[in-house]
Amino acid sequence: MFVLLIFLNFADSLYKWGEFRKAVLEYKRLLFLRKIDNSYAYYQIAKCYENLEEFKKALVYYQKYMAEKNDIALIPKYAFLYFLTGEYEKAEYLLETSPTRKSKALLAFLYLKEGKTGKAERILKHLNLEYHSAGIWTIPSYLIPGMTQILHGEFKKGILSFILTMFSGYMVFNEFKSKNYLSGIILFDVLFIRFYTGNIYNAKRSVANYNLKKLKKKYEIP
């Protein structure tokens, strides 16, 4: 019993001093010797891996912990780890089933990052958060390339988008005017379409970034 307490104290001390890898080894030793409550060890190991930024391993141990203790308060962190490891569907599933406002905010954050603006906007409306609708705010960029980006504070991107789209458009127009149809078609496909669609894509991104900033500020999302 005394030995067990020493081992446990040692493991906890290693964690406190930031020696996370060594702490993991000691918690695993205690698990192997079956001398510790599993859920406590799983949770500690998961926290160590999280601090070491080994998110996949942290997830494995959070899953083991959640299987023993269904800790609802842990869901946002757990879901965020799924997001960091690229498992978006699992993150979304967890957050959709969680009732808390923080979970909903995190879900909106994930949707915005993934480009699912429609779903994100429905949640933002439900959270009564002031947001910009992608459908409405990208219209200026359809008419004047780069406008949406400029209106959302991304001046460099907006001006660059405007210059490149207009310049490539001018080149295409020039080629067709000189009856160089082949080079006109090539320039249209390779340059103009690329920059125009890029402008629309960046317009949607700038609206999403604006909404993300608001969300991060209000709900303290990392």
Binding site: G86, Y88, K113, E114, G115, K116, K156, K157, L160, S161, L164, T165, R194, F195, T197, G198, N199, I200, Y201, N202
Partner: protein
């Protein structure tokens, strides 16, 4: 032939560095104005930058040209066989194509 010899001579020197700087300039300017079009991870410009730095200008340019000719939506069909799997970025699934493989 003379051009090739000259290119080889400059492999580790100026021409390679100039090319990588041009790629960086492209990434900071023209690339910013485009959508996320690349089907691979790392993107073709990042790939070109890394192979030119690692393998020299001549081999780097050839690999970059080959990469551009492999960058199409059907590349995902070869993700398990010829590449290192896939990764999700945003709402797109991209194929992982490691530059280290081309030693």
């Amino acid at each position: 032939m003379i051009l090739l010899i000259v290119l080889q001579f400059f492999e580790f020197n100026m021409a390679g560095k100039v090319t990588t700087e041009l790629i960086k300039l492209y990434q900071q300017t023209l690339s910013q104005a485009q959508a996320d079009v690349c089907n691979f991870e790392p993107s073709c410009s990042h790939f070109a930058y890394e192979v030119i730095e690692e393998y020299g200008l001549l081999k780097g340019i050839l690999l970059a040209s080959d990469r551009l000719q492999r960058c199409h939506p059907f590349a995902i069909l070869y993700s398990k066989e010829y590449y290192e799997g896939t990764i999700k970025k945003g709402n797109r699934l991209k194929v992982i194509d490691n530059p280290q493989k081309y030693k």
